[in-house]
Each structure stands twice: as structure tokens, then as C-alpha cells.
Amino acid sequence: MKNFLDLAELKYFTSDNAKMYKTKNGFAAMKAFMPPIKKDDLAEGQDNTPDWQDLGRVYFHRMFPFDAPDEFISVLDKDGNEYGIIRNITDFSGEDADIINEFLARKYLCPEITKVISLKEKLGYSYWEVETDKGKMSFSMHDTYRNIARVSDTRLVLTDVDGNRFGIKDVLALDSKSYRKIELYL
């Protein structure tokens, strides 16, 4: 018997059927070998033969930003309609992969905390002073325990009062002083 799930079709992009490039103004764009894009979802009777076509500017969106940041990247148009999926960035190489990585880095900003310099709690707020891969930073958090996402046993993602994200790749890899400061929230 055919699997029920086979009924849903996923369009995957690889270096065989997709080519990345940058627009004149430096945005990510893509050419792909695929059936023509329907302009209107209610339009009927279109030719569906796949061909190479220029999609113009595309937007990347991680489907699993915490679990698998380099896999399952959705390629979207301006209105958020999906052209297809990049299953893994390794399916692309060279300039293509560079463009994907560059635009993911532009969309997802999450400095990685390497050291906790000071952490104080006062009136339900916590004040952090940290060193990150992007330099020294300070931020404050409200309702600290609930604003720390425990992605895995060792990986944390913190969201501060403004909505900025900070990551800790591996809490066990922190120096013992830093670890003791954040221990309370683990």
C-alpha cells in the first residue's frame, strides 16, 4: 500500500536544479529548473512543463532554527509563498552556498555568549554583561527562566526584553565562573 504521506510533494532544491545569484543591490536571488509559478492560486489551465526560470529575489527561512539550522531551509517569495526547500546547505557548494549562508546570517542574528561577566537579578529583571563572538554586550531579561529556551541539554537560547537573541552553544563548555552564574536557570 502506498504511504499516505507520499501524497504530499516536497520540492527540493539542489545544485542540480537551482542556482543562486545576487541582485544588483545585493539581495539573494535564484534561478531554478521548475514548473512555471502560478501568479494566482485560483488561475486554471496553465502549462506545467518545468523549465529554467529566474525567480528573482528570494527569501530564506529556517524551518528548524534551533534543531537544524543548516537543514530544511525554505525558499520563499516576497509574500511568503514557498518555491521549494533546501534540504541541506551541503547540497550546494561554492558561491551558491556562500550566498545562502550570507543571507541566513543576515536574517538570523544571535550572538553566541562565550563568557558571563556579571549577572544580577533585581525586581524580576536580570541584568547580563557578557562576552560574545560579536564582542562585549550587556542586556536585560524579564522573567528570565521562561525566556531561556532549552534547545538541548547543553544549548540555550536567551531572549532579552527587546527581543534580541543570544545563544550559548554548550553550557558545559563555559568556564566554571560563568557556569555558576547561570546555573540557577538551567
Partner: protein, 734 residues
């Protein structure tokens, strides 16, 4: 917190962009990222149709300066990424990025986009968009009007006073009782000393005086008990009155707030504010404050007595006090961590249980009981481990701490003991002194917990007053119109957005005449329900006008307006109660006869009769004992009961089978005469009787006309109908 110093680089770009703009600014904002998310200093000014930008490049040699003419740009867009935001614009068909920032400037940049678009369209954008704490200059959290970082605790506690004022007499009487109790507590050791010195260790005691002292002691004891009793009764009574009053004020305030004010806080948070935060305040007024007063009185008076009795000895006694305080602070910090963890573990367990029990059906259907069991065991284990560790730690610390605090007492016993032996002090004096020492040490131990309690209370006060202080955004007109409406509705150039930068509805122009039945059509998320919310004035328009009978909706009394509307919403909400109480909710003075008629019209009567308890059937929490269709019919009956001028149906019959839907539709059609009906439906056949169909697409009106007109013009409506017909054909052929 130490004051934040603005980095010189930031000031420099700000000044530079200001001078580029000629010293004037309609609006200005900062940003701090560049192309590939490198951190930089950047500042922007919008002034007189231009946008000026200065960016300090990461190599810091030369700044990038941009001047952009707003009129050249087709569109400005606010791009929300993850952890960072950007402003993009389109100019002659091409996209450009203007600037980017991390989240701290997100709101400012949203507003900037709104202002630039407004400048482009020649609209003025007024109003305060966001609030900044005047003290620390930080932007306040959405939905917050006080900066929790800068609240002045003294000021906060003073604000409680007006609520205690009506009970000033009782409270001051209770405080007097407290003083009496403290005085008795302090005086009793004096009696004890007298008893021992004059009667117990004397060779020939005078029996008469002896009895007198004992009677005096008993009398004081009795007086103390009576005072304690009176004081507790008064405090309990007045504090509960204060609590009820506070909750009432808070609840009324929340109901007054517009839906915007309510929805931006979770209902859980609002519930916490009404229940827990107000209770914290009550606890503070009732128990912490008087206790603090009493214990403080005792400590001070006893210390003075001790000093007069023997100041050298007193100093020795007081020696361990600072040590004790330091120790308690350390222990507190330590145990605070432990308890925090335990509290988290408890809360995790609670969440888990709530989750599983409310989703029991899913758990059983998918057969995941074992998995949930394991999850529960792990969480319970964690809680057990944490609390075991806590208790062990406590049990290790406390006896030791008690010993250290006792050192003072041992010292006293030793010194006084040797004095008694040498004869320079009497046994009575010893007893008196020791009683006083005990009197001082008790409150000191208790006071170690005070700072935490005060802190908790301060947070609660801040949260409670934040709501009380909040200004409702939808103000009633000074002289609201209370009269009946006719039912003519007109949108003119209406714009609306739930947040300030993104419009859900754009340039809506629509006229609905009294007696018309208007169908709103379109995909989900195009703004149909929003349009209805505006008609009900759950929100106010961002720009443009909405008229009822030619008068602006804001001139009407909100209450009077809404009582003339009957609404059946997408999600039918039934209150915990009977079917009858749910229908009559719309118009509590209706007779039984009217309720039954409404139920009959809504086709609910038949199924209600099938219930053993008829109209008195208890619908349970949110009506879960009824099916979706049954709930919807009750909601329709509720709307009809009001005999509304304007009937609003938002997917009101979606959960019904086609046959019942037709019956209700027919009933409603009879009703619509002389009334304005506005209906949203995805099943287009529901709207076949509509006198006007309005097709929405991306927040704008795409087509307006009757069914026949729109079918002929073969636009979006035609396509939608065709798609649905094909669907039903498919179903038939299968």
C-alpha cells in the same frame, strides 16, 4: 544599576546626521547593524520629505552618508528578521536596504516606516507611538506604563495609602493595640524579676505582695491576649475590605480598557494581577506591616531598657547581631537559589500535569500513556531531588546558625552567672536580662526575611498600579450619543492596523444601507473579521472615518452602540451555566417566552428539548457538553434575542450541516427586514441572499456587487464560486 553612558560614536553620528538634515527632525532613530550584521553606529533623520542616514563604517575611516528623497520611493517596508530588523525600500522597481538594527531599535524603526509612508502619501501621522521611561531613557515594554527598573519603592508604598484611608480609624486603633501588646511584652520581665528577687529567693517573703504580683502577671497576660485578639480581628476585617476594593477597582479598569489593552497581555497575566498581586498587597498591609511595626517597637524599646540596665552587657549581647545579619544574608542568597529551583521544578510539574490532563483524549487516542508516564516520572524525580537537597541543606544550616546566634546568650549567662556568684547581681536580674535577650533575638531572626518580602510587594504594587494608571485608548465622547441607530454604516478612506506599522485594512470605502444584507468574502486573513471588529468598535480606526447614520462612530456611547448589535462570532463562547442563562445573557430582562422564541428561530429549540433538563441543561465549562453545531445555535439565539438593529454573523453557521444552515438562513432572512446584516462566510451559498457582496483581498476591497454582477464580471468572486462548485461536483461524483 549604574547609569548607562552613551558611547561617543553614537553621539557623533547622531550629531552628524542632525547637521546634515539642517538641525531639524520630524523623526529620528538609531540603528546599529550593517549589511552583514556587523555592529556599527548609525543614525537617521526624517525631515521635510527626505531621509538622512549616517553610518560609521567598521573601519572607522569615513562615514557613509545617504540622502534619500521620500517621493522617489514607491514603498518602504519594515522587515522583521530573527533577532534583527531592517528597513527596505523599492525605488523604480528595485529593492534596496536602507538600514538595519538589532531589536532594541525595532519599535523606533517600525514607526519610522510608518512616518515615511505617511510623508509620502501626504498624511500627517500624529500621536504618541511609544513611551520612554523618563528616568533611564529605556523604552517601556509593550503594555507597560511603568519602568520596573526605575520604580521608586517609597513612592509605591505611599500610593497604597489612599486605599487604606477609609479604614484609618480601625487601623490606628489596631496599631494602638500593637503598642500595648509590645509594652506588656516588655513589662512582663520586670514583674518576673520582682517575683524572683522580692519573694522567691528572700528568706521571709510577704505572701500578700506575692499574690499581688502573680495576679498582676495574670492580668497582663489576659490583657495581652485580648489586645492580640482585637488587633487581629480589626486587621483581618479591614484588610479584606481593602483587598476586595482593590480587586474591584482593578477588575473595573480592565473591563474599561479597549480590546487592544487587554489582548496584549495574556489572560493568565491579568488573572495573576487580580488574584495574586492584590493578595500580595493585602498580605503586606495585614501581616508584614503590623508585624514589622511590632517587632521594631520591641527591638528598640528592649534595647534601650537593656542599655540602661547594663550597657556593657548589652554591647556583648549585641555583638553577634551584625554577624547574624551577614550570615542571614548569605544564607538567604543561597537558599533563594535553592528555592527558586524548587519553585521552578514545582511549576514544571504543574504545567506537565495540566497539559496531560487537558489533553487526555489525545494521549489516549495516540496511545502515548507510557511516554507521558516516563515524562512525569522524570519531572517528579527532579522535583524530589531538588527538594531533598533543599531540606538537607536547611537541616545542616539551621542548627548551626541557631548555635552561632546563641553565642551571645551563652556569653550573657557566663558573665551574669559569675556576677551572681560574686554577689553583684541577683537571680531576678538574670532572669529579666535573659528574657530581654530572647525578646531582641526573636524579631532579629524574623527581620532577616523582610527585604525579600518588601521586594515582592513592590513588584506587585507596581503591576497593580500599572493597570490602574493606564489610560483607555478608546475614550468615550464627552457627550456620547445614546439614541437608537438606524443601521446605515459607512467606511470612508479607512485604515487600520493592530500594530502601528502594518495595516490590516487599507483604504476601505464602503457604504452599507439600512436593511441591506452584506456578505464579506475572501480568503482567511484578508481583514474580514477586522472590519467587523471595527464596526463593533472593539478597536478604533488608525486613519479615516467610520460613520453610523452619518455620524462618526466615536461620537456614540460605546455601550449604547453595542447593545443595538447582535453578534455571532467565529468561536462561539458559552459561559459556565445553563442553556437558558447563556441565551438570556444578551438581554437579561427577557421573559422565558422570548428566550424560547429566539431558540426556535435559531433552530436550537428541538435539540434543547432532547436534553433531559431542557433549558436548564448545564452546559459545563465553555459548553463542552454540547456539540459545535449546538453551541453555535445557542449563540445565534443569543444574538437574535436582542432584536438587534445590526446583526453580525462571523462564520456563524460554519459548524452546522447544510440542512440546518438552510433552516437558520431562512429564519434569518425573515429577520433581516429593516435590519442591517453583515455576514462573513466561506461557504458562498450561505450568502446567496445577500444584497451586496464585498470581496476582500490583502486588506483592500477588490470587488463590490451582487452575486449576479460579480459572476458576470468574472473576477475573484467568480473564481471562488467556481472553485467551490468544482469541489461539490467532486463530492457528488464520488
Amino acid at each position: 544599576m549604574k547609569k548607562k553612558i552613551i558611547p561617543p560614536g553614537r553621539i557623533r553620528v547622531r550629531e552628524k546626521v542632525m547637521s546634515a538634515a539642517g538641525g531639524n527632525a520630524d523623526y529620528s532613530f538609531d540603528f546599529n547593524l550593517y549589511e552583514k550584521n556587523e555592529y556599527i553606529y548609525g543614525a537617521a533623520v526624517i525631515n521635510g520629505g527626505f531621509v538622512y542616514i549616517v553610518i560609521e563604517n567598521s573601519n572607522k575611516d569615513n562615514d557613509t552618508e545617504i540622502k534619500l528623497t521620500i517621493d522617489d520611493v514607491t514603498e518602504f517596508r519594515y522587515i522583521n528578521n530573527s533577532g534583527c530588523v531592517a528597513i527596505e525600500y523599492t525605488k523604480s522597481g528595485e529593492d534596496f536596504e536602507l538600514c538595519r538594527s538589532d531589536m532594541r531599535n525595532a519599535v523606533a524603526m517600525q514607526i519610522a516606516v510608518k512616518k515615511m509612508m505617511a510623508a509620502k502619501e501626504g498624511r500627517g501621522v500624529g500621536g504618541n507611538d511609544f513611551t520612554i521611561c523618563p528616568k533611564c531613557g529605556k523604552m517601556l515594554k509593550q503594555g507597560s506604563t511603568v519602568c520596573l527598573e526605575c520604580i521608586d519603592k517609597k513612592h509605591l508604598f505611599l500610593r497604597l495609602m489612599p486605599y487604606a484611608k477609609p479604614y484609618a480609624k480601625q487601623l490606628s486603633f489596631a496599631t494602638l493595640m500593637l503598642i500595648i501588646i509590645s509594652a506588656i511584652n516588655v513589662y512582663i520581665p520586670v514583674l518576673t524579676k520582682k517575683l524572683i528577687n522580692e519573694y522567691l529567693i528572700v528568706e521571709n517573703p510577704v505572701t500578700k505582695g506575692f499574690v499581688g504580683v502573680v495576679i498582676a502577671m495574670a492580668a497582663f497576660g489576659f490583657a495581652r491576649s485580648v489586645s492580640v485578639m482585637i488587633q487581629r480581628i480589626i486587621y483581618t476585617k479591614s484588610s479584606n475590605a481593602i483587598l476586595v476594593n482593590l480587586r474591584k477597582i482593578l477588575y473595573e479598569k480592565i473591563q474599561q480598557l479597549s480590546l487592544t489593552g487587554i489582548t496584549r497581555r495574556s489572560s493568565g497575566e491579568l488573572i495573576t494581577r487580580i488574584t495574586r498581586d492584590t493578595k500580595n498587597l493585602k498580605d503586606f498591609i495585614v501581616s508584614t506591616l503590623p508585624e514589622l511595626l511590632q517587632q521594631g517597637l520591641i527591638v528598640i524599646s528592649v534595647t534601650i531598657i537593656l542599655l540602661t540596665l547594663d550597657w556593657k552587657l548589652t554591647l556583648i549581647i549585641m555583638l553577634p547581631v551584625p554577624i547574624m545579619f551577614i550570615m542571614f544574608t548569605v544564607i538567604r542568597n543561597f537558599t533563594h537559589k535553592l528555592y527558586h529551583r524548587q519553585w521552578q521544578a514545582e511549576s514544571d510539574l504543574g504545567t506537565l500535569l495540566y497539559d496531560v490532563f487537558s489533553g487526555m483524549r489525545v494521549v489516549k487516542v495516540f496511545g502515548t500513556e507510557k511516554k507521558e508516564e516516563n515524562k512525569f516520572r522524570t519531572t517528579a524525580r527532579k522535583l524530589a531531588d531538588t527538594s531533598q537537597k533543599n531540606e538537607l541543606t536547611w537541616n545542616l544550616i539551621v542548627p548551626f546558625a541557631t548555635f552561632i546566634m546563641g553565642i551571645g546568650e551563652y556569653a550573657v549567662i557566663y558573665i551574669i552567672g559569675s556576677r551572681i556568684i560574686t554577689g553583684s547581681m541577683t537571680l531576678g536580674e538574670l532572669t529579666q536580662f535573659l528574657s530581654y535577650v530572647a525578646l531582641v533575638y526573636g524579631p532579629m531572626r524574623w527581620m532577616a526575611h523582610i527585604p525579600r518580602r518588601i521586594q515582592n510587594t513592590a513588584i506587585s504594587i507596581a503591576k497593580v498600579f500599572e493597570i490602574i494608571d493606564e489610560k483607555s485608548e478608546m475614550n468615550e465622547d464627552e457627550k456620547p450619543i445614546m439614541s437608537e441607530i438606524n443601521g446605515d454604516i459607512k467606511f470612508s478612506n479607512a485604515y487600520f492596523g493592530y500594530n502601528s506599522y502594518e495595516y490590516v485594512l487599507k483604504n476601505i470605502n464602503l457604504e452599507i444601507k439600512n436593511g441591506e444584507m452584506v456578505g464579506l468574502v475572501g480568503r482567511s486573513g484578508v481583514g474580514k473579521t477586522t472590519a467587523i471588529n471595527l464596526i463593533m468598535r472593539l478597536y478604533d480606526l488608525t486613519a479615516g472615518n467610520l460613520f453610523f447614520d452619518g455620524i462618526d462612530i466615536r461620537k456614540y456611547s460605546q455601550h449604547a452602540l453595542r447593545t443595538q448589535m447582535g453578534v455571532v462570532l467565529q468561536e462561539t463562547f458559552l459561559f459556565n451555566g445553563t442553556i437558558f442563562s447563556n441565551i438570556i445573557y444578551a438581554k437579561p430582562d427577557s421573559t422565558r417566552d422570548e428566550v424560547i422564541r429566539a431558540a426556535k428561530l435559531a433552530n436550537a429549540h428541538e435539540f434543547i428539548l432532547k436534553q433531559p433538563d431542557g433549558y436548564n441543561t448545564y452546559v459545563g465549562d465553555k459548553g463542552h457538553t454540547l456539540s459545535g453545531g449546538e453551541r453555535q445555535r445557542i449563540a445565534i439565539a443569543r444574538a437574535i434575542l436582542r432584536n438587534p438593529k445590526v446583526l453580525i454573523l462571523d462564520e456563524a453557521t460554519a459548524a452546522l450541516d447544510t440542512e440546518t444552515e438552510k433552516l437558520i438562513q431562512d429564519a434569518l432572512n425573515r429577520l433581516t427586514e429593516g435590519r442591517t446584516t453583515i455576514a462573513i462566510a466561506h461557504r458562498l451559498s450561505t450568502l446567496r441572499n445577500a444584497t451586496k457582496l464585498v470581496v476582500f483581498e490583502k486588506g483592500m476591497i477588490e470587488e463590490v456587487g451582487t452575486h449576479d454582477n460579480l459572476m458576470r464580471s468574472k473576477g475573484r468572486y467568480y473564481k471562488l464560486v467556481m472553485a467551490q462548485r468544482q469541489m461539490s461536483k467532486l463530492i457528488k461524483t464520488k
